[in-house]
């Protein structure tokens, strides 16, 4: 648990964010709002988090939290000068908010990706996109989970 949280932070630091320390690691195993926000801040690296351009597709109700299909789609020309650099997916109610980060290149043509994730309980799934110019956009969807994943 500690290791992966550190990894989330290291990832943010890799994008040039200031090192974040003193994250509370209380006995509660579930990520709190603070951890989720910290992950977003680290990813945004000081940029204002805007709305729009990115759209996250997730089911409204997931019967099985062990495998929930999600897709992200970001509006972008995907040229060398203006493309989506990365999209981070967060699950705010999981033991660790970090789920996956997609790293795009202009060769992708379109900035879209699909994967399957685990959700421990009903929660917001958050997608944050970072453009090549450093601007950041966010979208989130509430997913109702009938049976939680993450082996709870």
């Amino acid at each position: 648990m500690k290791l992966s949280r550190r990894k989330v932070l290291a990832l943010g630091a890799g994008f040039g964010a200031a090192a974040l320390t003193g994250l509370s690691t209380s006995g509660i195993a579930f990520a709190d709002e603070a951890a989720t926000q910290a992950a977003i801040d680290a990813f945004a690296a000081g940029a204002e988090v805007g709305e729009g351009r990115i759209s996250l597709t997730a089911p409204e109700i997931a019967e099985n939290g062990n495998t929930v299909p999600i897709s992200v789609d970001v509006e972008s020309e995907m040229t060398e000068a203006d493309h989506v650099a990365a999209v981070m997916i967060l699950a705010s109610g999981n033991p660790n908010p970090g789920v996956i980060t997609f790293n795009f290149t202009p060769m992708n043509g379109v900035a879209a990706a699909t994967t399957r994730i685990r959700l421990a309980k009903t929660q917001d799934v958050i997608a944050v996109a970072k453009m090549s110019d450093g601007s950041v956009f966010m979208d989130k969807k509430l997913v109702k989970v009938t049976i939680g994943g993450c082996g709870g």
Partner: protein, 107 residues
Amino acid sequence: MATKPRVKVPKKAAAGDVITIKTLISHAMESGQRKGKDGNLIPRKIINKFTAEFNGATVFSADIEPGVAANPFIEFNVKVMESGTFDFKWLDDDGSEYTSSKEIAVE
């Protein structure tokens, strides 16, 4: 146990086409959160990194955490301009590396 990865890449495409690539690898993606029969936590063992290269240049990668479901499935797109080879690589927590290659003919 991780086995042979499965990757779907179109066999041919027209130059400038945006193709869809689907990848799947069998892996338990042990999250490190579950407790075994003895009451102790089962150590984390997941695929933590996926990369896709085309003719030697990285076109897409993903940093994966335990929140990704077992048998990680990743779908993405690539705009192809020339024929070549895709090399896919999955990195396991234990250091193992699983690879797969696919050719595409672009007209």
